[in-house]
Symmetry: C2
Subunit: 262 residues, 2 copies
Amino acid sequence: MATSNQGGKPLILLTNDDGIAAPGLKALVEVARNYGEVLVVAPDSPQSGQGHAITITQPLRLHKVDMFGGIEAYECSGTPADCVKLAKHVLLKDKKADLCLSGINHGSNASINIIYSGTMSAAMEASLEGVNSIGFSLLDYSWDADFEPCKPFIAKIVSETLANGLPGCRLLNVNFPNKPEGGIKGIKVCRQADARWIEEFAEATDPRGEKYYWLTGKFINDDPREDTDVNALSNGYVSVVPSGHDLTIEKSLQPLAQRLES
Amino acid sequence: MATSNQGGKPLILLTNDDGIAAPGLKALVEVARNYGEVLVVAPDSPQSGQGHAITITQPLRLHKVDMFGGIEAYECSGTPADCVKLAKHVLLKDKKADLCLSGINHGSNASINIIYSGTMSAAMEASLEGVNSIGFSLLDYSWDADFEPCKPFIAKIVSETLANGLPGCRLLNVNFPNKPEGGIKGIKVCRQADARWIEEFAEATDPRGEKYYWLTGKFINDDPREDTDVNALSNGYVSVVPSGHDLTIEKSLQPLAQRLES
């Protein structure tokens, strides 16, 4: 196993976007502590839907907390991506994490949700810093979601990644179907589905008589390909999408150059 | 030209992340109004670094403003992505914008900045809704930046896109070098550079005696490829990167399946 740590054990950075008190983070700590020395740096409040937001116009705070049975842990006043940056630059300094785990998110980050997700952005932030990173999400938005069925699959993915690295990428987007123990069929490595949200805004009037809007929506998958994350999940598999950060559309380069460079 | 609008003129949605009062947005309105009917929906305060954040735990507000010489305009209490969602669902309803323009951002969104950028996330949000979208950014962070040299290039890219659509993509990331009028050499269509931020946190103590951290950083391009946006910009060209939202790393699918699916 790769080790950056003087004790010889892998150093594993944990974060999330549901906040330091989220049960999903606790579940992830419970698995990760079997594989190395764990450092938790998580937002001090829920940060769902924060995407890859970073805090540049305000100061950030870090407070040490004791809530994971002896594991070193901090709550941070910023976004998930801020947590990863602060962990690297303020807490770890010249040590480098061997692995970053983010989650377990309460709710899906499959398909286009990767773009809106604080959980996945934290993992991506670590991957940009050269650290292999994995975001985990369960397709159950409730605070009381049952994370137990996820644990053997997290253990497998974490131990495999610590032993052999990631092939050709530095980031995995892992989602779990909402199934009871024994109900998950296995792991499928797949591509990001081209699914989308059909949104609406609930419109209402506040006690001061001012109109407001509240986002609501429905997730629609009209991607017909079989090898997508959304399809794997609806068939009862854990989806694993190797992910990056290069958004270039290769096939558009040449036709666009013909039109615009003249 | 494509038209969704009863008047027969293209309907162009404008937004940004520097806020409704930013000079860069005013400059973009000045160009866009020559090409169609313009609707402005922009954040009521600066939202730099907001990434693809969306507001799901709070209500959103929209207020009509009159600050662009007769152009219909609204300030919104949410993020740049929220602005685009509200424009579609609350203001446009069954009309569909023909084009979304975001910016002109005060500062670079080349390379990995696309991930952190509210400007680009607003444009991406519109592209996810099926609207051709272009984010514009000038490599000058100052409020008093001179946007005049950008205007002929914006005019060219907007008129070309309205006339012929975008080939194989729905989103362009356009950045302008910081050059005086006549100093820009032309347009280069290019790929997203694999550049990154080397960050630090300034550490200080507030008047209450509590420690805080403030993000600071330096942008480093160690991507040796010649056809990147960062390279085009440093050679004095406007960079245009056709961009998408599929983060899947194709080459990792098969080796990862071998390891994890067994």
